[in-house]
């Protein structure tokens, strides 16, 4: 990471600490902001958050590793999460997954070469009456067919 990048990240974290308050309960909201913007939380960011909140970096790492929406390795620009809960499974999840894997040339769990997509499974998205469902970043799509799912991804930036 470049020095300028580092110092701008430091300033950014300072802003978030100001916004949410210098307290332990601000940790998740701050991690959420960074995750949303950078799609992962780098080692440097972890150490800096820990320093600014006055906690040990291991604590920060421990929290990140617990929550499935937070990660320490970069992901693709768009995060595609296909619901694997029982009703989505019954209504054809497998065909959606296969179509997406074929079309993007990536296996579930992986990231496309151009870094545009990471494809994963999600546990229940709470759309069981309208499965199969998937989320692309913070938007959800339901009543999917393989064709519809692929079309949605083709329209993603």
């Amino acid at each position: 990471m470049l020095i300028e990048e580092k110092s701008s990240l430091v300033r950014e974290i300072e802003e978030f600490v100001k916004l949410y308050g210098k307290k332990r309960s601000s940790l998740l909201p701050i991690l959420h902001e960074l995750q949303n913007k950078y799609r992962y939380i780098s080692d440097f960011a972890q150490q800096e958050i820990a320093r600014q909140l006055g906690i040990h970096p291991v604590e920060v790492y421990g929290v990140i590793s617990f929550y499935s929406f937070l990660n320490t390795e970069p992901k693709g620009r768009n995060l595609v999460r296909i619901c694997q809960s029982v009703t989505c499974d019954m209504h054809g999840k497998e065909n959606i997954v296969k179509a997406i894997e074929r079309e993007l040339g990536v296996e579930i769990g992986g990231t496309t070469k151009d870094n545009k997509f990471t494809v994963e499974y999600a546990n229940c998205l709470g759309l069981c009456d309208q499965g199969p469902a998937m989320a692309v970043n913070d938007r959800v799509y339901f009543n999917l067919t393989p064709e519809k799912a692929v079309k949605i991804l083709n329209e993603a930036k």
Partner: protein, 402 residues
């Protein structure tokens, strides 16, 4: 996202309600009156555990502390449950007003909505609604002119962990920690968020309260059964023509639910989500209610074409993934049960070993630290018992006749 507007019918939650009317009614009332009304209504928690609301609120109200909290549990992670999403989308007022009434009753100035990360798209509409309430002085300082009542609501976003729906894990998460369940006692009503008295309630529980306040406890208790008063929102999915959210009185039988949902050739019904129990045809006369088939509201329907061993495998994979790993019975137990399911799948098991696994499941039910490990054996035990023939016959080389 595209929101499907449906006209919903129901006797309590989906009955008509005038925004703000419950707040107007309680402002100025002694909190004992509200507690008594809730006690008379016999309203129990809709999040799964079924704890009486009046007791929880009375304990929180009785705690002597300056700071107290009311938390709306909108983590809705149980596979097969989606009624809280519908409430938060279409009946936001009811949930907010339930929290405001709670704040007033227990003496809390702050309410927190713990919103699951999967529902992040509800964040903005919720915030908008909160702003609207502030502008109308239904939230904020001196609510409706009552100088002794300040109350604000904030939203906290979850990050994709099922166990965070468990109230003590939820509180850990709010405090910025890993969502690992706490030992109890102390209970959250005495030492919850920031060690302050905290009432954690499900969205549906809260959304029911404004109706009880405006229409009365007796009106409410006329629905349902003696031990399970009122109605329940059911999240119905699976093999049926009309999946969706239904409001039905407690005491409704599984058979009636299946008819309403347009289910045909039903072989099995999972009541209560992944952590619930699976019933077969001989059990469809059972009634929904705390005294019989209790449920947080998830009903998953399976028709004759479904392979129940695969259903069980899906549930056990979920629990293996979502166990927080804090205690051994749950961390190791779920892995062993899933292994057992795979052994059956491969025709590679002994009945003696299956008996051992059932014993292990029994141990998990009593020795696990929180509800996740205590209830994850439910589908394992009920599916293997109620679909014994099918599952054992599906072993390669076995008897395929049904």
């Amino acid at each position: 996202m595209e929101i499907q507007k449906t006209i919903r019918k129901g006797s309590v939650i989906f009955s008509s309600y005038e925004k703000g009317s419950a707040i107007k009614k309680i402002i100025g009332l002694p909190r004992e009156d509200i507690l008594l009304e809730l006690k008379t209504s016999k309203l129990k928690g809709r999040g799964g555990a079924g704890f009486p609301v009046s007791t929880k609120w009375m304990l929180t109200a009785a705690a002597i502390e300056d700071e107290k909290y009311i938390v709306c549990n909108a983590d809705e992670g149980e596979p097969g449950t989606f009624k809280d999403r519908v409430l938060l989308t279409e009946y936001t007022e009811l949930a907010l007003e339930g929290m405001i009434i709670g704040g007033y009753t227990i003496g809390a100035k702050k309410g927190i909505i713990y919103l699951r990360g999967e529902y992040e798209y509800l964040m903005k509409p919720l915030q908008k609604k909160i702003e609207e309430y502030k502008n109308e002085n239904l939230l904020g300082k001196s609510i409706l002119g009552n100088e002794e009542f300040d109350f604000d609501i904030s939203i906290f976003l979850g990050h994709g962990s099922y166990v965070c729906g468990e109230e003590t894990a939820l509180i850990e998460s709010l405090e910025g920690h890993r969502g690992e369940a706490r030992n109890r006692p102390p209970y959250p009503v005495n030492q919850g968020f920031m060690n302050k008295p905290t009432a954690v309630n499900n969205v549906e529980t809260l959304a029911t309260i404004p109706h009880i306040i405006t229409k009365g406890a007796e009106w409410f208790a006329q629905f349902g059964t003696d031990k399970s008063s009122g109605t329940k929102l059911l999240s119905i999915s699976g093999d049926c023509e009309k999946p969706g959210v239904y409001e039905l009185p407690w005491g409704t039988t599984i058979k009636e639910v299946l008819e309403l949902a347009g289910a045909k050739n039903t072989k099995a019904v999972q009541v209560g989500g992944a952590s619930g129990i699976c019933l077969n045809k001989t059990q469809f006369d059972r009634k929904l209610g705390y005294e019989d088939a209790g449920t947080g509201g998830s009903i998953i329907i399976f028709d004759e074409s479904r392979d129940m061993l695969q259903v069980l495998k899906n549930f056990m994979e979920f629990f293996v993934e979502e166990s927080c790993g804090q205690c051994t019975p749950c961390r190791i137990g779920n892995v062993k049960l899933l292994e057992g399911v795979k052994m059956i799948e491969n025709g590679d098991f002994t009945f003696r070993y299956l008996e051992k696994l059932k014993e292990l499941a029994g141990t998990m039910q009593v020795a696990s630290k929180c509800g996740l490990g205590q209830s994850s054996p439910n589908p394992f035990l009920s599916i293997l018992e109620n679909f014994k023939d099918e599952i054992l016959n599906s072993v390669p080389g076995g008897n395929y006749e049904r």
